[in-house]
């Protein structure tokens, strides 16, 4: 092993660069896998109590406010316990170039003239409890509200952009008339009947679109799926870089390395000794890259809140949540990174050396 390490150190520049790039690939792959897995796990836990069935109305493929009277017809379907109109929507703040989500809470809504805001809005606007903020209504007239509460900082992943508002204020701001709601929220007796009830609703009210809770959870389970946009590009680049590595190694050794093998054979080393040396060489580089890359990725995702991914996640938005993910680590992902990087690299290091080591030392050194 001492000889192997000395041999590696003799080509410090080349092996150092190799180790750095290799570590970077492992770091990138592990960061993406840690981030996406942790986010999916958190979504599954946090959204487990989201509404059971939501009924939206669509007109020519677009959302439209739903008549509250639709609820009475849906209530007649066997198995439906309750139907409640839900009021929510968006507000674009032209001064801060930010989109907010307006929500009218079903329980304990704020008093008229008062709003609750998410921690993200509070941070961006530097607005705090007791301050007054103004919004422009659908009719172009300004309306002012007093901030009654700020939603907890720890819940930013679900509430950073929320504005909790009373029903009269919401209707006055958005222009949605009474008798209409954004959508309807259903409670159902038996979770196994979600799909059947959704089908009955579509038959009863063909201009509606039911969304069941399982679909919400599945949406987030497939979030940042490997086939989704940028993710496939990252995986593609990493795979390509790795193929170049492996190709470089598998297609042959440098003249210096061949000469070294020839000398070792000439002084009495067996082919197996040389293969063992090359095995250690491959393992030293790949194992170091694997451990360092994984540790850096863990720190990046769970201690720095994925600082390198933030510009990508922000897009063009000026309002974004600040959150620290819970470190859900999938052992399967770690094993996959190990077997996709360490094992093939180590093998591709041995193959050309075996070819060189089985040739006559005299021919190799010439």
């Amino acid at each position: 092993m001492d000889f192997t390490l000395s041999s590696l150190l003799r080509r410090k520049g080349k092996n150092g660069a190799l180790l750095a790039v290799y570590t970077l690939i492992v770091f990138l792959l592990a960061s993406v896998l840690f981030f996406t897995h942790a986010l999916r796990q958190e979504a599954a836990l946090v959204l487990r109590d989201s509404p059971e069935i939501i009924v939206q109305r669509t007109l020519t493929g677009r959302y439209a406010p739903i008549p509250v009277a639709y609820g009475d017809r849906i209530r007649g379907i066997r198995g439906v316990i309750s139907v409640r109109p839900r009021l929510w929507g968006y507000y674009y703040d032209a001064n801060f170039l930010a989109n907010y989500t307006l929500v009218v809470p079903g329980d304990n809504p704020p008093k008229q003239g008062t709003i609750g805001i998410g921690a993200g809005i509070s941070r961006m606007r530097e607005a705090f409890e007791g301050d007054t903020v103004g919004f422009t209504g659908f009719d172009g007239k300004p309306r002012s509200f007093t901030i009654g509460s700020i939603l907890s900082d720890e819940s930013q992943l679900v509430s950073a952009d929320l504005i909790l508002i009373s029903e009269p204020d919401y209707r006055s701001l958005s222009g949605i008339p009474s008798g209409f709601a954004t959508d309807l929220v259903l409670k159902v007796k038996n979770p196994k009947e979600f799909t059947t009830i959704a089908e009955k609703i579509t038959r009863l009210l063909p201009d509606t679109r039911p969304i069941v809770r399982n679909e919400i959870l599945r949406t987030y389970d497939a979030l940042f799926n490997w086939r989704a946009g940028v993710i496939i590009v990252i995986f593609g680049v990493a795979a390509l870089a790795f193929v170049i590595f492996a190709w470089d190694k598998a297609t042959g050794l440098s003249a210096e390395e061949r000469k070294e093998i020839g000398i070792l054979k000439a002084i009495g080393w067996e082919t197996s000794d040389i293969l063992l040396m090359k095995f250690w060489e491959g393992l030293a580089i790949s194992l170091t890259a694997f451990f360092v890359g994984i540790a850096l990725a863990y720190g990046h995702v769970f201690f720095t809140s994925s600082i390198l991914f933030v510009p990508v996640l922000k897009g063009w938005s000026t309002l974004y949540p600040e959150f620290r993910l819970v470190p859900f680590v999938d052992f399967g992902h770690l094993a996959a990174i190990f077997f996709l990087t360490v094992v093939p690299y180590t093998i591709t290091t041995i193959i050309p050396s075996w070819r060189a080591a089985t040739i006559d030392p005299d021919a190799v050194m010439r």
């Binding site: 677009r62 968006y90 993200g120 992943l157 679900v158 952009d161 929220v185 946009g229 309002l319």
Partner: protein, 104 residues
Amino acid sequence: MALRNSTLFLSGTAALFLLFIAMLGHSVYARTAALPVLDRKAELVRTLELTDLCLFTEASYTRHLAMTDLNTPFQDAPFSFEHFPTGALVSPPERLVRSHGQRN
């Protein structure tokens, strides 16, 4: 006396392995410690009847990913491109894909 290369390498690898084990230990500990926070977030989702994570706020169809439809990302113009950067990060909900053809 100078340390042998192999001693340095094995010590370094052992240290990295210990760091790896510590990372796994931290993951298990932090997960348990975060359960109350996750419960509070789930309670907020339940009381406010929320459906989505607030990951992206630039476009309605990525802000409320589970509620989106196939038209919104392409606005009103036929043949127009979906132009918000976060639209390149996420896939449409399975429900839409299922009802409008296969992805692969």
